[in-house]
Symmetry: D2
Subunit: 192 residues, 4 copies
């Protein structure tokens, strides 16, 4: 059975909501989702590493803080150096999602940080492949639209300064769900 | 007198509107704005090169098409190789702006393309330094807010699928104006 | 039969040498290589677009000039907007290679330009997945080593200021060959 | 008197050697260098924050691990959010350096991580502005040459798998020295 590891950090719950949505999408595709929440830079990463080792695909998630992925994910990335030396992650699919306060906030830089890590491991990067949320222009923000932001490298969500129960909006959650489904379907095809 | 060259391309007029706003900002700072519109990859770039040669700072602008700067600006960048060899642009200030249909659209990649060019020339990069348009979250899009998108590398505007008379909105135009003013003020200080 | 389109530009023949090596690798994997050389920003791109339409995977190549891909490839990217709107390239594999005078030269920015384009199309990005050319440190340059530069996003070659008959060195050519072979093998598996 | 803070992390001493060289360059320009070594993600960053608060310019340094800046610098960046909210670093000059095992290794991504942080703070980015180490091609590696790698966004050094007493080579150390001198001279001019 296809197995997708979702390795993420969440500071205030918004990225966790996205991770849950990604896991739902993975499940919808008939695959197993292994949700692993990172907690700090100093933690033991062996559980997260084990989850990736068993997975056909890995979806990384982190809030964007000061223009890049949060510290626990960066620390996890550094902790993958032995797996990298051994080539253990080669040919696994990889994808990513991130969340921030604004539409911009250099969230693409966070996704680039994930892409660089994936490429160093010889993984294969899968973007959301979602059409623009509103081809007539996104000036209305369109909180219900999938890919309302116009993101290509991964899923980018925008959360208001409020609790994870109300934000990010439905469109961003659905974008995350579809990313999980896409990665799981492609992984199933790829590992057939 | 401080002189700022604005080297830009515009496909449908929206980026031209921003270029005009940048020029207004330069003027507001008491500096001279040299607006140079690029037209095609095959044109004679000597006018644009001469404008940069005389300038204390250069502000690059282009629409983001398929995730990067449009062709005329890329062609101009390639045409700067002689100035690069001679070190002619060293220590000039540089900045950038771009426009696209969505809030995302990989506009930061376009700005990175400008930053790379500027750094190869030994220029000094100045971002907009604008606080977030809405610290409580941008979910309402806030068309009147300066830096409504949350952009740091340069000014990014979002235009709906409509004429340049109605879009990009006032906030984006004011963001561009302030960028022009900022670069001109810093250039004046720097070349004093 | 698996089909890989190699869409590239070459200014002085060095990138063409890499494109040939990529094609050899594709052939070694038992797939068909469609080599399409771009010539200018103003050319008719219908041949290149047709080659991609028929392909299971696409490998982009361009010299890095002033820190980014050369103009003909950028112009081709802009010309793919109709295929993008129609979602025609979705799920095709994509990869890239570039060449420059130095080990650095912002060649990763060129590869990022290719990745952004591929992600906008919903393609799947495949890096070279090549171990470092010399784990003890590359200070000796190691012209015969595969991935002597330590590149992850795509293949990056370095050519001296000499003819394409003598440079880039054997290691870079072999890196390109292996990229072609890898993309063809993965495409075969993926489209099975 | 002009004051430059050098905020860096070093895992095995190679980046520390570069930081020392940067400080020498700052001193050569007649400015004060405040060297602050970061130790971990969990440390108290108030000393580093205080050094930046007093400085006219800041030079960030970190090894590139798995394609991005090491964890202590990333953690420091996150810890600057209060200074960011208050706009405290606006208009300070910023620059960066990094070190890795290969010529590539996605070191430009590390520098981009520094640039993004600097731009979020409204700082002004200064690259090394160093001509290529060898215009005839770098295939000989040229360990004595300044900017032997062809780096533009910041200084990138390459260290062999050996102690910091023997690597990175003289050219990289001199590149770092010149970066320190350049930033100090520009900061003096800028704050005059």
């Amino acid at each position: 059975m296809t197995r997708i590891a979702i390795i993420y950090h969440s500071g205030y719950g918004h990225t966790a909501v996205l991770a849950q949505a990604v896991a739902e999408g993975v499940g919808k595709a008939g695959a197993i989702a292994d949700l692993v929440k990172l907690e700090s830079a100093e933690q033991d990463f062996s559980g997260a590493l084990a989850a990736v080792a068993k997975a056909d695909g890995v979806i990384f998630g982190a809030p964007t803080y000061m223009g890049d992925i949060s510290v626990p994910l960066r620390a996890f990335f550094v902790a993958t150096s032995k797996a990298w030396m051994a080539g253990e992650w080669k040919d696994k699919l990889a994808a990513g999602f991130t969340n921030g306060l604004t539409f911009g906030g250099n969230k693409d830089h966070s996704l680039n940080s994930m892409i660089v890590l994936a490429m160093q491991h010889g993984m294969i990067w899968v973007g959301p492949a979602q059409p623009l949320g509103n081809m007539n222009g996104n000036s209305t923000a369109a909180p219900e639209a999938v890919n309302r932001i116009g993101s290509a490298l991964g899923v980018t969500a925008q959360s208001d300064n409020a609790g994870a129960d109300v934000t990010p909006p439905a469109g961003d959650r659905e974008s995350a769900r579809q990313l999980g489904e896409r990665v799981a379907r492609l992984a199933a095809k790829f590992t057939a």
